[in-house]
Amino acid sequence: MIAPLLLLVTLQQPAGDSFPHAAHARLFASCTTCHAGVISGRRDELMPQPAQCRTCHDGTTEAVVTWAGARIEPSNLRFEHRRHEQEVRREGDSALTCVTCHALAGATVFMAAGRASPERCLSCHAHRTADHLVSAPCATCHLPLRDARALSIARIQALPKPATHDDRFVFSHATEARSTACQTCHTKESCSACHVNAARVPEIGALGSSALAAAVFATGRRSYPVPPSHQARDFARGHGVAAKAPGATCASCHARESCLGCHGSDERVPAIGALPARSARAMGVDLSDRRPADHGAGFEIRHRDATAATDQACGSCHRQQFCVSCHAAASADAYHVANFVQRHSAAAYRGDTDCAACHQVTAFCSACHQQAGLTPVAGAARGAFHDGVANWLFAHGAVARRSLETCASCHTQTFCTGCHSTTRGLRVNPHGARPPAGDPNRPSCRACHR
């Protein structure tokens, strides 16, 4: 009877039932009258052509009808009626007929048929799990995506997402990726959209390639969630050890350029050199503008403490030239705000940025202050700098003790010893209440005490 109709080729099945089967009940002796392709295996005979309708609907016997024919939607099903029938016979399940799969639910009349639903398949091919998309042997029914060439881009984009593929799945999918199940929905283009090392991973290569999938994954912005291990406060500081360890997986997400955002100088770090370069497809994690957790606000002031680990610790991220950009003066456009020179007096007075660490006061500050007209002018009633305080000469001591570096930015030592000396000038004692400690023969003592 109609059992043999379980043939067919292909990755194709009817999309919806556009033919009024019920209205034609008992008009046809068998399903294969119209669906001859199920037996012959010919795709063009799988569905009836509109011309066949006109055999009866010729305007005389029956009214002329307009039917465009059935449209066959491409799918990735691995179903072939002929092979299926052979396997059924081999397994002795002769009760399997067209009706078994195509009869409508609860139908009791002939030709109450339609598209076979996946549930019918599952009535025999039961999964060992409640979730159709989880841990199922996909290959039983589905072709790998690389071979499902008939699928449209829209169908690929609409492939359902298993419940296991949640936000955390990305961190554990490496072990799952060894399963052939991945091939059902993924080609290597799926992976290489994120994995900068896709070409080096055998599991990814095994997925095969598909031009359609490549088109799907060529667009869209990638996001790289931060692994739990990377969220530790000190991860940046110790990540080099992990990166150099055997089996390091940095290259899954990081291109060479990811590292060079910080390691700009480290030409000779093998772990960086070994990373694949960024490609147009997989950009890798963008780490530009990232700072270690301890490089927060004000770090430029307290960074000297970090150098206790020797310059090697700093040198992991900073070129030595980076230090000179500040510690060489007159070129630190990256350190001070653009208009800092116009309002640097507060910072200089407090010493919070330790000007002398980068600027040699005599050679740098004095030179500019002289040029700006801030230094003493012979014949002037008072200096431009101290115009806010009358009788500055008698009042300067208290201010000077709090910010001697500020004084030195205009005045030479000789200027001060003009008064503060035991041998000349006004012989004013500059030492305050506490005599200076240390060797009295040092140069600073001998300047006044002969």
Binding site: D305, H327, A338
Partner: protein, 447 residues
């Protein structure tokens, strides 16, 4: 050159060079103050422009046939583009900041030549040698020594750059030697020590002697760190700082810090015996995401100075406490970013408040931004009072894989001049810098 000449035959086939060049030209308008004998006051002169030109060349070479052997140097050439005004240091036409030969193995490193040595004490530059030993990643020790160069100047102590300005400066050279160690005995616990001594080149006088301690602990959420520098020459504490940082998982963090400071003066200057008074202070800062793409931060710093010890009828009304407040916010939406900050300084001999806002558009290969600034100063001990507004723009464009061009332009307008002096800070500032990288891309493979 010597390295290349001494390399085994054929070894130079693997020689690789990498050079980075940064050419920076600036235009800085100034209006120098001039004393007006008629009004007996200081007035701002006409605008003149300083036009410093700076050329940095950084060169690294490796592949001499000996594993771990390399040469590294960084030199700076300076000049001026024809202006009569001299920007600081632009009349010093050549400096070599470092130029050393390095031999490095897994557990040790040797350097010889001109070396820049950062430490918790100070950045020291010297001509000599340094040896570092690191048996594993959690322990490092280093010794160094040689002819000391003037701090932040990269020139010998006898340089005319200082001697011509201050005849008091010693005519003797200086030597420096030091040792440092750092260890992380268990994860997230670290400690460091550094010691440094400078003497005159005849070993006849001490110039400076310092020791520093540093330690830190972190459990991921809380980080504590402390550091201190002791000035052995003056027998007093230099700087010390103790801070605690609390980090929240949401990206929020807060820091509380206590600190103390007294400047470190070399013993061959008189400043250290002029009874300098230090200060201590505390600061609290916080940073948190306010909205998904908005971050805000705020900070307050208080400094307390020792009460003035001198009493005179002319003593200026000095505050013993200074305050600094800073509030900032930033927004990042895709390639767009904006940030703004407000700052207030009180009690440093003047009052200062400032505001700056920046908006920018950033792509991988280029970016542009615009900036608005305004600040106001009311000076008690300084040049004068005034309000300054500024507007400007900056930009950057990448050239090739590792080169780029950047520039900025700012115009400032000075209003409301007050005080006996009449400074005028209205000025134009411009910068353009070309950064080029030549030679081997060593990142492409491990040597």
């Amino acid at each position: 050159m010597l390295l290349a000449a001494s390399a085994p035959p054929g070894a130079l086939a693997q020689l690789q060079l990498r050079a980075r060049s940064t050419t920076t030209a600036q235009l800085i308008q100034l209006r120098p103050l001039r004393y007006d004998t008629v009004s007996a006051s200081y007035l701002a002169g006409d605008a003149a422009a300083a036009t410093p030109l700076q050329q940095d060349i950084e060169l690294t070479a490796w592949g001499f046939g000996v594993r771990g052997l390399r040469f590294a140097s960084m030199i700076r050439l300076r000049s001026s583009l024809g202006s009569s005004l001299v920007w600081p240091r632009s009349d010093d036409h050549f400096d070599a900041y470092w130029a050393f030969v390095e031999l490095e193995r897994e557990s040790w490193r040797l350097r010889a030549g001109r070396i820049q040595h950062p430490s918790p004490i100070i950045m020291t530059t010297f001509d000599g040698a340094a040896a570092m030993w690191r048996p594993h990643g959690r322990l490092r020790a280093e010794v160094f020594g040689g002819r000391s160069l003037v701090r932040a100047l990269a020139e010998p102590a006898t340089t005319s750059a200082i001697a011509s300005l201050d005849p008091f400066v010693t005519s003797q050279g200086q030597l420096v030697a030091g040792v440092s160690a750092w260890a992380e005995p268990v994860a997230a616990v670290s400690a460091g020590f550094a010691y440094q001594r400078e003497v005159t080149s005849d070993f006849g006088a001490l110039v400076g002697e310092y020791a520093a301690l540093q330690g830190g602990w972190s459990n991921g959420r809380v980080a504590l760190s402390g550091s201190a520098v002791y000035d052995l020459g003056h027998d007093t504490w230099g700087r010390s700082r103790l801070s605690g940082v609390l980090s929240a998982g949401s990206g929020a963090s807060a820091e509380l810090a206590l600190f103390q400071r007294r400047p470190l003066f070399p013993l061959n200057t008189i400043w250290g015996v002029f009874a300098p008074q230090g200060h201590w202070g505390a600061s609290v800062t916080g940073e948190a995401p306010l909205l998904p793409r908005v971050r805000v931060s705020a900070g307050y710093t208080m400094r307390r100075y020792q009460p003035t010890t001198e009493t005179t009828p002319f003593l200026p009304q000095l505050d013993d406490v200074t305050h600094t407040v800073r509030i900032a916010a930033s927004l990042r939406q895709g390639p767009w970013q904006a940030r703004g900050a407000w700052l207030l300084n009180l009690g440093y001999g003047g009052e200062h408040s400032g505001f700056e806002a920046l908006g920018g558009y950033r792509r991988e290969r280029w970016d542009v931004s615009g900036e608005l600034v305004a600040f106001q100063e009311s000076e008690e001990l300084r040049v004068g009072s005034g309000t300054v507004y500024g507007i400007g723009a900056s930009g950057r464009v990448a050239i090739g894989a590792a080169s780029g061009l950047r520039g900025s332009l700012m115009q400032y307008f000075h209003r409301d001049t007050g005080g006996a002096s009449a400074p005028n800070w209205s000025q134009l500032r411009a910068l353009i810098a070309l950064e080029l990288t030549f030679g081997a891309n060593a990142d492409g493979g491990a040597p």
